[in-house]
Amino acid sequence: MNKNILNIFKKEFNSYFTSPMAYIFLVVFALVSGYFFSNTFFLIGQSDLRALFNIVPMVYLFFIPAITMGLIAKEKNLGTMEVMCTLPIKEYELVLGKYLAALSLLFIGLLFTVVHIITLTNFGTNIDYGALFTGYLGLFFAGAVYAAIGTFASSLFDNQVVAFIIGVFIVLMFFLFDKLLIFVPSFMAGFIQYISVDYHLSNIARGVIDSRNIIYFFSIIGLFLFATVQALNSRKWK
């Protein structure tokens, strides 16, 4: 990996753990997803993690903007952005390093839910490990999309709270698009459905890894990270 990205990544990842941020995120994320999962798991009596895969994207709605809100807004607020931008780093390296740090924290959060797989293998029968794998893959991709959106929201403001609110708002839109299809004129419905995260997530969660879904996730991530880099560059256009 590019050494500048790696340096930024290390600094950012460490700063999650030198503040209470990472610990609060990990513990609360594990508690919330664990509670909603185990609540229904024993009632339904099915050997899968569908309950978990349904609840985590909703937990994401607030948790991911919370871990990304400070990535850039905080630096702008402290003025350290000026230091960063006058070091020999390119803007895209800065954005990618920070984004990967948020993604890693998210990944650790998902690792905590592996405890539910252990529960499943102890109590369940006929477990479809393929669907488990694609389910997790879907969760990771959905989280990656939301983190890119959150990073973008953070680059627009120098206030973390505003970045959080706008982040939640955009993430919520992408989450809700395919639930609002009935309100959308029919010629747009296909498009709106295509840009909705849930639509692609449900495909993957069913156990189908379709290149269209993968391309969708990568292009939305790419789009928002590109927009973030442009937002950082915008200081030069003023």
Binding site: K3, N4, N7, K10, K11, N14, S15, T18, S19, L78, G79, T80, E82, V83, C85, T86, L87, P88, I89, K90, R235, K236, W237, K238
Partner: protein
């Protein structure tokens, strides 16, 4: 070498910097002086590649700011105004991070660290969090970050703001020492600071350069005069007329108990003895006699009014 040609920067309708030109060579310590909002920080931000100019050219060591700003960032060390730092990082980690970004690793980093710790006097805070350091140490940490890669060019935006007198003297000595081998450009609105530290001064006001030269040259150019103030008792009308005939430039003002006299003259035509002899001869009484030579503050106020 820094060469600035017709540099202009507008923020919307606000003209922050208006077509300024200057050239600074290696080994010079230059003070960039101006009131708040005069365009100092904007100019420095352009030189360091943080902002792009509206028009004009900046060439730093042969690199043009429009195309090669990435190369410029490698050879410049920059301490921004108000010294922003990551307060939750350890000083050591911050220096290491900055060094790594600057491509300094392993034993090279150890040497660089030893150098800046020694030069900036950071020994007692290296293993503290930045947030726990006092303001003076924070300033030195910022300075250490700016010079960890031993840059040829050091740009410091108000490096001594908020420090106590002892710390100011330390930083001042450090800057002077650094100026022997580097190009140092520092901004300030504290005049004594600039006067004591730099060899050349550029004064900027409302986005334009109003003066540029060595401290001595500026003094001679703008303030060759000495101001003599007297407080005298015992003037009669006749004596007063005689006094004013003798000293044509004198301005006399009658106050309640005494006369206040101000005379301005060129330094070479010292008048003090003549004035004193006149007072003795005419049996006047002298309460006070003082001279005031020009200082940078007067020049500054005169130029930026």
């Amino acid at each position: 070498m820094i060469e600035v040609k017709k540099l202009t920067k507008n923020y919307g309708d606000v003209k922050a910097v208006q077509s300024i030109d200057f050239k600074i060579n290696h080994g010079e310590v230059v003070g960039f002086l101006g009131a708040n909002g005069a365009g100092k920080s904007t100019t420095l931000k352009i030189l360091t590649g943080y902002l792009t100019p509206t028009s004009g050219d900046v060439v730093v060591d042969g690199y043009n700011i429009q195309n090669d700003f990435h190369e410029i960032k490698k050879i410049v060390g920059y301490l921004p105004e108000s010294n922003p730092l990551y307060h939750d990082m350890y000083v050591y980690d911050l220096l290491k991070f900055t060094a790594n970004i600057r491509n300094i690793f392993g034993s090279d980093f150890k040497n660089a660290l030893d150098m800046v710790v020694e030069q900036c006097g950071l020994k007692e805070v290296v293993h503290k969090r930045v947030g726990e350091c006092s303001k003076g140490f924070k300033q030195r940490v910022g300075l250490a970050c700016a010079m960890i890669h031993d840059p040829k060019i050091l740009i410091l935006d108000e490096p001594v703001t908020g420090l106590d007198p002892n710390q100011i003297i330390e930083i001042r000595q450090l800057i002077k020492k650094l100026g022997k081998e580097k190009l140092v450009l520092m901004s300030s609105h504290i005049l004594q600071e600039i006067e004591a530290t730099v060899s050349r001064i550029i004064i900027i006001d409302h986005g334009k350069i109003v003066a540029d030269g060595t401290t001595k040259k500026l003094m001679n150019q703008f303030m060759g005069n000495v101001k003599l103030s007297l407080e005298v008792v015992g003037f009669t009308d006749a004596k007063l007329t005689k006094f004013q005939d003798t000293f044509k430039k004198a301005k006399v003002k009658k106050l309640k108990d005494y006369y206040k006299v101000n005379i301005e003259y060129k330094k070479k035509d010292d008048m003090r003895l003549d004035v004193f002899n006149f007072i003795v001869k005419n049996k006047l009484s002298l309460l006070e006699m003082s001279t005031q030579t020009a200082n940078l503050e007067d020049i500054f106020r005169k130029l930026t009014k």
